[in-house]
């Protein structure tokens, strides 16, 4: 399919191809490979739930609310000048953590836990790790530029009967990112190429704490919202992302090739938290869309972090997905996220957009070591 695409190119488009190739070579060779150790995984800072349901392969096609952080070069593609102004809120709940999340969200928890409730808590997390979080964004996008104010917080508490030292332990992990992204993009060469960039201010932290089971006070702290917050220290920094999309549109078939540079030159973070830098990473995506005027079926494959700067294994870097969009209002998404199957539905009822997704995150370094089944329910309101 890709070979046929290039064979069918008009001769006057060859300079465009040469430009794309030069840019690609420049990105991959001129800037240099990152070989420093992992500071952050290869996933984007913010992902729309429907994009995650579709395997997280969002470099070539992303939901409006997630576009700024998926690939800013996608901004010009679409109909009309104004694209989206609205707010999106999503709740992330581990498959086995529904009750605990309800307790925390209602301000419950047990800040002065007795011995028995601590034991009960530990017993609970041994059987079912707690995983919960929230995604929130307010964004505006038109065909030239857009901005997004976002918040992503996710935590995981799991107990091991045999921790790293052989003794039972509790592990608290969290990913917390907040910030603002401002993107602009422009079409070039008869709309075949889109180049976009995002400038972002980030407030980020990725605490990872292992607590010995003999430390009852620390375990007690984990059961209250205040205790959880105290474990999350944050750093701040400015960074830039660059995105390119090479787009060929046919009557019923569209082809897309996307390249994205996350954290161009590396994003330095200042503060007391351990996360000091977001490494520069390169991502490549391919997309194919079969469509008519109202429906479309999009297949996409992303290979994230081509240079391996994140240290993630291939199963976390390869994302595969499909989106079926019916009458612009109903979406069905499916794919492979972290190598696990993912599914989701989206209902776009003009002012209101509802999303439900299920996917599995692999928190371990290899498939099957520490997977978490996750439900996401999203509610967006906007025009």
């Amino acid at each position: 399919m890709i070979i046929r695409f290039f064979l069918n190119l008009r001769p006057y488009l060859l300079p465009a191809c040469a430009l794309v190739w030069r840019v690609t070579i420049w990105i991959f060779c001129g800037i240099g490979w990152q070989s420093v150790a992992l500071a952050k995984g290869s996933a984007p800072l913010y992902e729309d739930p429907f994009d995650v349901a579709s395997g997280g392969a969002s470099l070539t096609r992303a939901s409006q609310a997630g576009m700024i952080f998926s690939n800013p070069a996608l901004i010009p593609y679409g109909t009309g000048f104004h694209r989206w102004l609205g707010n999106e809120t999503s709740l992330i709940v581990g498959k086995d953590s529904v009750d605990f999340a309800k307790n925390l969200s209602s301000g419950g928890g047990n800040s002065a836990a007795s011995g028995s409730s601590t034991a009960q808590f530990v017993d609970t997390v041994v059987k079912t790790p707690l995983h919960a979080g929230v995604l929130n964004s307010f964004s505006y996008i038109n065909r030239l530029f857009g901005f997004s104010v976002f918040n992503r917080g996710e935590f995981d508490i799991a107990a091991k009967k045999y921790g790293d030292t052989g003794l039972p332990s509790l592990r608290f992990r969290s990913e917390s990112y907040q910030g603002v992204g401002l993107s602009a993009a422009s079409l070039m060469l008869t709309n075949m190429i889109s180049v976009g960039a995002t400038a972002k201010f980030i407030y980020a932290g990725e605490p990872d704490v292992e607590i010995d089971l003999t430390d009852q006070q620390a375990i007690s702290d984990l059961q209250s919202p205040a205790g959880l917050r105290s474990l999350v220290s944050m750093n701040t920094g400015y960074g830039y992302d660059l995105g390119f999309v090479f787009f060929r549109q046919g009557q019923n078939s569209d082809y897309r090739l996307a390249i994205k540079v996350d954290d161009f030159g590396g994003t330095r973070l200042n503060g007391s938290a351990d996360l000091k830098e977001l490494k520069q990473m390169y991502h490549v995506g391919l997309g194919y869309t079969y469509h008519n005027s109202v429906d479309s079926l999009h297949f996409s494959a992303d290979y994230r972090d081509v240079g391996g700067a994140s240290g993630d294994e291939v199963f976390k870097r390869l994302r595969l997905g499909a989106k079926l969009l019916i009458r612009h209002h109903i979406g069905i998404g499916a794919g492979y996220y972290d190598g696990w199957p993912s599914y989701g539905l989206e209902l776009d009822a003009w002012l209101v957009r509802l999303t439900a997704a299920y996917y599995k995150r692999e928190l371990g370094v290899k498939p099957g070591l520490d997977p978490r089944g996750v439900y996401v329910l999203g509610f967006a309101m906007g025009i």
Binding site: F315, G339, W340, E362
Partner: protein, 246 residues
């Protein structure tokens, strides 16, 4: 109609969707898609996974091999010791947070976390052997590297585990002479030899001196109580204590 128009693509979508349905990961070496580049677990990761799954036989096998290959990587010793203890039937998860103080004796508290000869029958000797191996594994760490104040987490873990496993071994060994096939049977104490008594006292003494903490204090109290028992020999004192403490 969209379904008719997109029929072949929907077929592809459904195929993509359900290829990996269920519990397997595309990149799992054992159950994933055969042509994908799978991510193999390292022996250390396999051992950790076996421990998480409660497969102590495999964990012991892998870790023992790793320790034999690289005996100076002491971080693995506490893990191997924990695997032996788990294999012996010790409820490590609950014993580390147990309260060894209070009015209960070491025999009573530890007794609730270890198996008895009544429960295991002929397999009890193997269980005892595994507990002995867990103690030996920890003792193999040079003494200067075992410290409850060390910044190396494995070092302080080794000290705490050594206390617990020595206490557990002492109590398990004593239980050989107090439990029969039908349950508690103090008449078996008459079969205890001086050598058996020496093994039990050595284990309790090791627990009492390995570290601070409630388990060590409880072992010290137990030793003091044994010495205070009537009797001319250690065998008689132990027999008297085991009945009084229960």
């Amino acid at each position: 109609m969209i379904l008719g128009h997109y029929k072949k693509y929907i077929y592809v979508l459904v195929t993509v969707l359900f290829t990996g349905c269920g519990t397997s990961n595309l990149f799992d070496c054992d159950s994933g898609y055969a042509r994908s580049r799978c991510s193999k677990l390292t022996p250390d990761e396999k051992a950790r996974m076996a421990l998480d799954q409660g497969d102590m036989e495999s964990a012991v096998e892998i870790l023992a091999e790793l320790v034999a290959e690289d005996p100076e990587t002491y971080q693995r010793y506490p893990l191997l010791a924990a695997a032996y203890a788990g294999k012996s039937g010790l409820d490590l998860f609950n014993v580390v947070t147990a309260n060894f103080g209070g009015d209960s004796s070491l025999l009573q508290v530890m007794g609730s976390f270890i198996p008895t000869p009544t429960q295991l029958g002929a397999a009890y000797d193997q269980s005892l052997e595994d507990m002995s191996l867990s103690v030996q594994t920890l003792v193999a760490i040079p003494a200067e590297l075992r410290s409850s104040t060390s910044s190396d987490k494995y070092a302080s873990s080794a000290v705490l585990q050594l206390t617990l496993y020595q206490a557990a071994y002492g109590v398990m060994y004593l239980n050989k002479f107090t439990y029969g096939a039908a349950g508690y049977d103090p008449s078996l104490l008459s079969t205890m030899t001086a050598q058996d008594a020496a093994i039990i006292l050595a284990a309790l003494n090791g627990a009492a001196t390995a570290a601070d903490g409630s388990a060590a204090t409880s072992a010290q109290s137990a030793l003091a109580a044994i010495q205070a028992q009537p009797g001319a020999s250690d065998v008689e004192k132990l027999a008297a204590w085991s009945q009084a403490a229960r």
